[in-house]
């Protein structure tokens, strides 16, 4: 049975100018940041792999907008946006991508391994599915200490066929842990489409199997994401009920910068069709038409974001590489 996707913001989550400004700004920040990161990658300033979430910005922006600063977020290797919106300094995120000493992890982690303790961002994880049981453990620790924070755990559709997805969902349901399982379903795991990977392609239904609230969500609609995650957070805070949200989104770029065209496994037409539902354009229209924001407001947001990202690039460029001695640090606790 198909379930109607969350389309409308829940009542009470009214869209005032401040909220509109924030959501638009957050989505634009991710977009500009990643566009600049892509340029830097092409120039060889970023090594290894670089996975962009362009097209998926509404997920991080909408979901984080209902979190408190002391809530936790944990994610995959496609995590620049999740980290930025959780509160990390864009300059330090960019420096980390550049492998520079002022990066979030002293330039030793890079794009896939962003961590920010100050903002309760528990990391990017490069092994698909592996961070889900860890998220359950963080939920356990919150409960153990009597806290009311929640854990927001992002993962892709590709994690669903991995055993750890099922182990983690079962643990969270069995032990009643305050974890929001947020699946960013962009329909592909590298070159493998959902239909070729899952016997059950309605991912939210796995939540029903484990007896936890679950629903599909339109991930191109930032307000729908905000509403659905808001409901899940409220429940998790109140009585430690976990939830599974299947947030349907789409990545406009290739799997990584090494797969820029991505033409083998999906058609150009498909990509162009999906771009018509660009979450930033949709939201911009939505706030401009009823006059929640003016054209000038939007221009100002764009300019502020562009300045912030330019500054981040300049900061990263100016930061030195970590010294050679850093190779041997942070393996065990260092003696004084």
């Amino acid at each position: 049975m198909a379930k109607a996707m969350t389309q409308k913001a829940a009542p009470g989550l009214g869209l005032d100018a401040d909220l509109a400004r924030k959501l638009l700004r957050d989505m634009l920040l991710i977009r500009r940041f990643e566009e600049k990161a892509a340029e830097a990658y092409a120039l060889g300033k970023i090594g290894g792999f670089l996975h962009l979430s362009i097209g998926e910005e509404a997920v991080a922006a909408g979901a984080t907008s209902v979190l408190r600063p002391d809530d936790y977020a944990i994610s995959t290797y496609r995590e620049h946006g999740h980290c930025l919106i959780k509160g990390s300094d864009p300059r330090r995120v960019m420096a980390e991508l550049f492998g520079r000493v002022d990066g979030l992890s002293k330039g030793k982690g890079g794009s896939m391994h962003l961590f920010d303790k100050e903002h309760n961002f528990l990391g990017g994880h490069a092994i698909v599915g592996a961070h889900l049981p860890i998220a359950a453990g963080v939920g356990f620790a919150i409960k153990y200490r009597g806290g009311d924070q929640v854990v927001l755990c992002y993962f892709g559709d590709g994690a669903v066929p991995e055993g750890e997805f099922h182990e983690a969902l079962n643990l969270a349901a069995l032990w009643k842990l305050p974890v929001i399982w947020l699946c960013e379903n962009n329909r592909y795991a590298m070159g493998t489409s959902l239909e070729r990977a899952l016997a059950q392609t309605e991912i939210w239904k796995f939540g029903e199997t484990y007896g936890i609230p679950s629903e599909p969500v339109d991930g191109m609609d930032v307000l729908a994401v905000r509403a659905a995650v808001g409901r899940a957070v409220e429940r998790a805070r109140r009585d430690k009920t976990p939830a599974l949200l299947e947030v349907r989104t789409y990545r406009f770029r290739g799997h990584s910068m090494r797969d820029p065209a991505g033409a083998v496994y999906r058609t150009k037409e498909e990509v162009e069709r999906e771009k018509l539902r660009d979450p930033i354009l949709l939201f911009r229209d939505r706030v401009l038409k009823p006059g929640v924001l003016s054209e000038d407001d939007v221009k100002k947001i764009e300019k502020d974001v562009n300045d912030l990202v330019d500054e981040a690039v300049a900061f990263a460029d100016a930061s030195p590489e970590p010294p050679a001695s850093e190779l041997f640090t942070d393996i065990f606790k260092e003696s004084a």
């Binding site: 330039g107 592996a130 991995e162």
Partner: protein
Amino acid sequence: MAKLNMVKALNLALMQEMERDPDVLVIGEDVGVDGGVFRVTEDLHRTYGSKRVIDSPLAEAGIIGASIGMALYGLKPVCEIQFSGFAFQCFHQIENHAARYRNRSQGRFHVPMVIRMPYGGGVRALEHHSESEEQFYAHIPGLKMVIPSGPRNARALLAAAIRDPDPVVFFEHKALYHAHKEDVPDESETMEIGRARVVREGDDLTLVAWGGMLRVAREAAETLEQEDGVGSDVIDLLTVAPLDRETIVRSVNKTGRVVIVHEAPRSFGPGAEIAASIMDGAFLSLEAPIARVTAHDVPFPGFAREKANVPDVARVVAAARDTLAY
């Protein structure tokens, strides 16, 4: 005869083994329609179809566990794990089942399968995407651990691995995939698993290396020849386990000095086992302590520090000079 890089040479082996034996299958993430992350399985799907070239969901334990079941039934799966760093998701299947079925069933069942994995540095990515973990597999009784060093031996060893009646873990160094081309004969050829090769001869020093480190060892030997007039045996291990102790011991009995080069971290790495084997077989011939040039005992670092971690020619030459001056 065609000039092929290692990707094409491996692809040729797969094509020919699938042609030769209808029980050979290829399975892994994006190995089919997409042709594999490193293109090693390109065109297999077009040629042999979905029945024999199987795109699996993201499920490493499933890939390896199911392949073991297929192998018990007489099929010959060739599995691909996208990067060796992801293999811990299926390590229990490899260690506990693939390696032990023959022993556990007292020879009534065996597991003729190959597990291919790209390994090693050179793609400027940290940790899982660059590590060298041959020691984990070499340590497991019942597993063979093979690492080619160039297109021609890659092709021949992969064919041998596929025909082997027991499970073979087959590492392919990412930096070698496109590094150089070699003449590879059109007709299929195999090489014996468990045999090292002496690829350069000399009387003063033995250098032992494999996979991505072979080039480093060879260049170091060249430098030592030119700058120091030192002649080196360079041994290309090709198979890490079972280890060809005989070839190593024979060489060290001749030279009396040895430097082992590997990309895996030092402690409890393959170099330690090789050194112990030299002590067993060539103790009285040694003129200097056995030297090891390895990656450091640290997680594989990000691109800014990668060069400081992986052994290079200068480090090998320096270690060799210390050994020679001892």
